[in-house]
Amino acid sequence: MSEYLEVGLFLVASALFYAVTMFMASLVSPHAPTAAKQSPYECGEQPVGEAQVRFGPNYYIIALIFVLFDVEAIFLFPWAAALREVGMAGFIEMLVFIGVLLVGLVYAWRKKVLSWI
């Protein structure tokens, strides 16, 4: 149990450190707000319009496709680590798997999901 005690102490210490620094900063720092200082920071540009805008539905679809292909890569890691043991059969199986994914990619591509509007 002692190792958890250390983790707990570390958590408490870091929370304290944060609280103390912020408190000290609010005591010491000058406070003189202007309109320019209060505006959202956009790399030096003048902010235009509301921060909460509607994204085009195209972004959602690209995000969905990204999530899918991203997660499928999970299977490549254990496969790569065990490639010596699974041998040729395992190699061919993975080729089939990647082939199926490729069909999915071609499908998304031909359906014009990947093209930027």
């Binding site: 539905p57 959602y60 679809i61 969905l64 496709i65 999530v67 899918l68 991203d70 997660v71 499928e72 999970i74 299977f75 254990p78």
Partner: protein
Amino acid sequence: MVPQSWVLVFTAALFGLGLWGSLRATNAVRILMGIELMLNAINVNLVAFNRYLADQAGQGQVFALFVMTIAAAEAAVGLAIFVSLARSYKGINVDKINILKW
């Protein structure tokens, strides 16, 4: 090592939280978030059981990997359904989606 009962209590609580959230929420995306929480509880369960059983084949860990990918596929289809719903209903509040008798 952490006692096994702690893990069970933790995953049961996480699962219950997800289930409660998904049954109580009216926004479809929140329901989906509750479902993801339930799936996370399951993954913790699987990996922890794998450890306690000292399963050399790593079945629990492999199962957790499959659960993750299937959860992603499920979320993708779900979000696609939400997008097509939002076009016809102007929102995804499940209380307001009731052309069919509920």
